[in-house]
């Protein structure tokens, strides 16, 4: 199927894209059911999602998917048609079934197999929920077929010709399904019911073609239906009902002559009455016996207005983003050459360039908005992680999400999934106490994990908090000491202790098993976040819980940067961290202890870092007089002063990832291409400073002087 020449491959691919959307709608619906805010329409949405997946899956012959979806749908249909309100446990079960369904969809897409046990177990639970005996597989159902009553109650059909009702138009529809219709998992019953919602329908089943039972071939459909529909609808609307089975059935729609009750009930063949109490053994393989009481009233009006959406291949957007990136670089080059040509800043060319810059910026923002997606899909995946993790450790956990509509670059969303999964598992496993402990601590037995997203000052802030016991700091400290990660006599502040969790090596199998706090691979999480140009911090309150805050750039593509000179190298600092620039006087720098200096800024003391030396480009300065210092603010609210050698420019730079290279330099977030075609590194100041606090291995700190000197010769 995945063959490139296969014309179906495209259609198939778009089916799976659609499935993702349907699954999202499904999760949404279940979410509102769970929160108790869903109305009767919600269950319909849920049902429709499952049904559409089933229909599509049938068309592609994805049997596992069809089988599961079919029975899931059946249960949902029971719920909606009976007007049952599913309780919390039921919804949890629906959620798990939805999870399984999405597993099946993904497995079908990637050509994998999903163990059937899980699905069977779920189906059994679903059936048990309704208190009906478990449905057997369709195949075996045919073998052990017992004639059951099918109550296909099509609501108003019983009394279609009540006096007083003034039917507007009478349509005569003849509907004869072909074998393909059943093979693709469609069901005439549902079609007929949908038709009945359009108006008053009188359905007649034509059993004329039905052979004797002996000659009956179970794979061949023999039934046809004639429907007299009294409804003020157009032919197109009727055909719309049969849209999904287009080409799979013979459909005739015509305006019937209004000759009052000709199709009177008496003339109907007895077995054809869809309300017949019993005895009709349907030969269709897919129409398993069901009990379908009153259908819900038509709710077409409740559908939200369709948004006009274009589905675009991501590659095309990537291309556009890259082109815009090139445009920005070219514009910078142009600006540079105009300046070096000695043009006056008030010349027409320079004015025009300014306008050009503004336009480029607008284009860039618009292109970035194309890539932006709400974090909702990510959060939905996380709710599944919570369900699975809480089931695995036997804790009652509720995930509360906030700010689902916050839009973030698609790449960020994709690459956040792994670290967030990790953190959520940690929160459920280590963060939340077992139910009994919670109760004795005066909390509710059900733990809460809160996941929120928000835009804050040009960045995206994602917070993951739990209301667990908080970080067990003495324990963390003890482990760090035992592992030799910190000197035994070191005295650390609470924040420093919390940050120990991010140390590589803190997370080993040993510490996982006996650590009541956290620390499972948090260094990996931090690395992943840093690769996205983000930062992560912890706040923890003993007995109150722990909050992880991830701060991410809005986009991975552009950055407002300050272009600075560090020991002859051009580097870029994110503009949003720079609070102010200072020029140091002779008395501004005070020594705290050898190797650690402070700078006085308006009554406060800020640690001073010599950027050139920290990056290994040159040795430490001894005299800072006259140096230019950037005062930057860090995520934890602290400030730091970075000594640089000059400020060159302030402009928008295009971020070029470095993650494909085999070496990740500490403190370097990414790179960019300057106007002269050279590459400048983009610094992550917080990371530079953190790298300074955690001593690097000695050899890694040795500056590579020789290459540097050669470079200067040739550069």
């Amino acid at each position: 199927m995945s063959d490139q020449n296969d014309p179906m491959a495209d259609i198939r691919a778009s089916f799976f894209v659609e499935c993702e959307e349907l699954l999202e709608a499904l999760q949404d619906g279940l979410g509102s059911l769970d929160d108790g805010v869903g109305d009767s329409e919600t269950i319909n949405v849920v049902f429709r999602a499952v049904h559409s997946i089933k229909g599509g899956a049938g068309a592609f012959g994805l049997e596992h998917l069809v089988r599961f979806a079919h029975r899931y749908e059946t249960v949902l249909d029971e719920v909606r048609s009976n007007g049952l309100t599913p309780d919390h446990e039921n919804v949890k079960l629906f959620f798990r079934a939805a999870d399984h369904l999405s597993d099946l969809v993904r497995a079908s897409r990637d050509g994998l197999t999903v163990p059937q046990d899980a699905g069977d177990a779920l189906l059994a639970e679903l059936d048990a929920m309704l208190g009906t005996p478990a449905e057997t597989d369709e195949a075996s159902a045919q073998v052990e077929f017992t004639p059951l009553g099918i109550g296909i109650d099509l609501g108003d059909l019983d009394a279609p010709f009540d006096a007083g009702s003034a039917p507007s138009t009478r349509w005569s529809i003849r509907f004869q399904p072909r074998a393909e219709l059943y093979e693709t998992g469609n069901e005439p019953q549902i079609l007929l019911r949908n038709l009945a919602r359009l108006g008053t329908a009188d359905v007649t089943c034509d059993v004329g073609a039905l052979p004797l039972l002996l000659e009956l071939s179970p794979e061949t459909p023999h039934l046809a239906w004639t429907i007299a529909l009294d409804a003020d609808v157009s032919e197109a609307e009727i055909r719309e009902v049969f849209e999904f089975v287009d080409g799979l059935c013979d459909l005739e729609v015509s305006l019937a002559l209004y000759d009052d009750n000709t199709a009177s009930t008496a003339e109907r063949p007895p077995a054809a009455d869809v309300n017949a109490p019993a005895g009709v053994t349907l030969p269709q393989p897919d129409t398993a016996p069901q009990d379908m009481p009153a259908p819900p009233p038509a709710r077409r009006a409740a559908e939200p207005p369709a948004r006009s959406v274009v589905r675009v291949d991501l590659e095309r957007i990537e291309r556009l983003v890259n082109l815009v990136g090139e445009l920005v670089i070219n514009q910078a080059m142009l600006a540079q050459s105009l300046v070096s040509a000695g043009l006056s800043p008030h010349s027409d060319a320079m004015n025009g360039l300014e306008e050009f810059q503004r336009l480029t910026r607008d284009i860039q923002d618009s292109v970035m908005m194309i890539r932006a997606q709400p974090v909702k899909s990510l959060f939905q995946r996380m709710s599944r992680i919570v369900r699975e993790a809480s089931a695995a450790v036997g804790k009652e956990v509720r995930l509360v999400t906030d700010g689902e509509a916050t839009e973030v670059d698609k790449t960020v969303i994709e690459r956040l999934a792994d670290p967030l999964t990790h953190m959520i598992r940690n929160a459920v496993d280590h963060g939340l106490e077992p139910g009994a402990d919670r109760v004795s601590a005066g909390k509710s037995a059900e733990g809460t994990v809160r996941l929120s997203a928000a835009h804050r000052s040009g960045r995206v802030i994602i917070e993951l908090s739990d209301d667990g016991g908080g970080i067990n700091r003495p324990r963390v400290l003890q482990i760090a000491r035992t592992k030799g990660l910190i000197p035994p006599e070191a005295s650390l502040s609470d924040t420093e202790i919390d940050n120990l969790l991010f140390l590589p090596g803190f997370s080993t199998a040993e510490s996982v098993s006996n650590l009541s706090g956290r620390g499972v691979g948090m260094d990996v999480v931090r690395t992943a976040i840093q690769q996205l140009g983000g930062r992560i911090s912890i706040q923890s309150e003993s007995g109150q819980g722990t909050t992880f805050t991830i701060s991410l750039p809005l986009t991975l593509a552009v950055l407002d940067g300050m272009v600075v000179d560090v020991a002859g190298e051009t580097m870029v600092l994110p503009l949003n961290v720079v609070v102010e620039t200072l020029s140091l006087g002779p008395d501004d720098v005070q020594m705290l202890r050898p190797g650690a200096e402070l700078v006085r800024v308006r009554g406060g003391f800020v640690p001073l870092y010599d950027l050139g030396a920290m990056l290994g480009y040159r040795s430490r300065r001894t005299d800072y007089t006259g140096c230019i210092v950037l005062l930057i603010s860090l995520d934890d609210g602290n400030r730091a002063a970075l000594v640089i050698d000059g400020i060159e420019d302030q402009r928008q730079v295009v971020i070029k990832g470095l993650d494909d290279s085999f070496f990740r330099a500490p403190g370097i977030a990414a790179a960019t291409i300057l106007g002269d075609g050279q590459i400048a590194l983009i610094l992550d100041p917080a990371d530079v400073i953190a790298g300074c606090l955690v001593p690097l291995p000695v050899d890694a700190r040795l500056p590579d002087r020789s290459s540097k000197e050669e470079r200067l010769e040739h550069g």
């Binding site: 403190g667 790179a671 590194l681």
Partner: protein
């Protein structure tokens, strides 16, 4: 360029590094570029020369001489960067000069003799002789370090 015949199924790009001759399978070579200024990466290993702009992407450049523990020579304008492609990752190798492209049969390659404590042994995949000169065939996978893994 040597004539391609059915029996000659391998083409090697030969180049000089610190006055020694090395070669690479030409299939892994993407392009050859003249020397441009590299932007050094802080705290990088000594053989990591820095990054350059390769038509809009950031290309890490490795000093092959240092990587092979050969005496590093002064960089000048005759130096070239061989852009190689390995497992979807592009890397630049800084060499002294590119010599030739030779076609040969795979059978002409001889495995290097086992010599312990030779840092180069692991990166030299095979030896061959062209015009009485010994050419070392590099194992690109061993030269270019595996990139650090993404999140586990």
């Amino acid at each position: 360029m040597a004539e391609k015949t059915g029996s000659k199924d391998l083409e090697l790009l030969t180049f000089k590094v610190a006055d020694q001759e090395y070669s690479l399978d030409i299939m892994s070579v993407r392009e050859i570029r003249g020397w441009t200024r590299t932007t050094p990466m802080p705290h990088a290993p000594a053989y990591m020369r820095g990054v350059i702009n390769l038509r809009g992407t950031v290309l890490p450049v490795m000093d092959l001489a240092r990587r092979l523990n050969l005496p590093s020579q002064d960089t000048n304008d005759r130096n070239v960067i061989i852009v190689v492609h390995l497992n979807g990752v592009m890397t630049g190798l800084l060499v002294d000069a590119v010599s030739d492209i030779v076609a040969m049969r795979r059978d002409d390659l001889k495995p290097p003799p086992e010599m312990t404590s030779d840092a180069q042994a692991s990166v030299v995949r095979a030896l061959t002789v062209i015009d009485d000169r010994m050419i070392r065939v590099l194992d690109l996978g061993a030269v270019v370090p595996a990139r650090t893994d993404e999140i586990a």
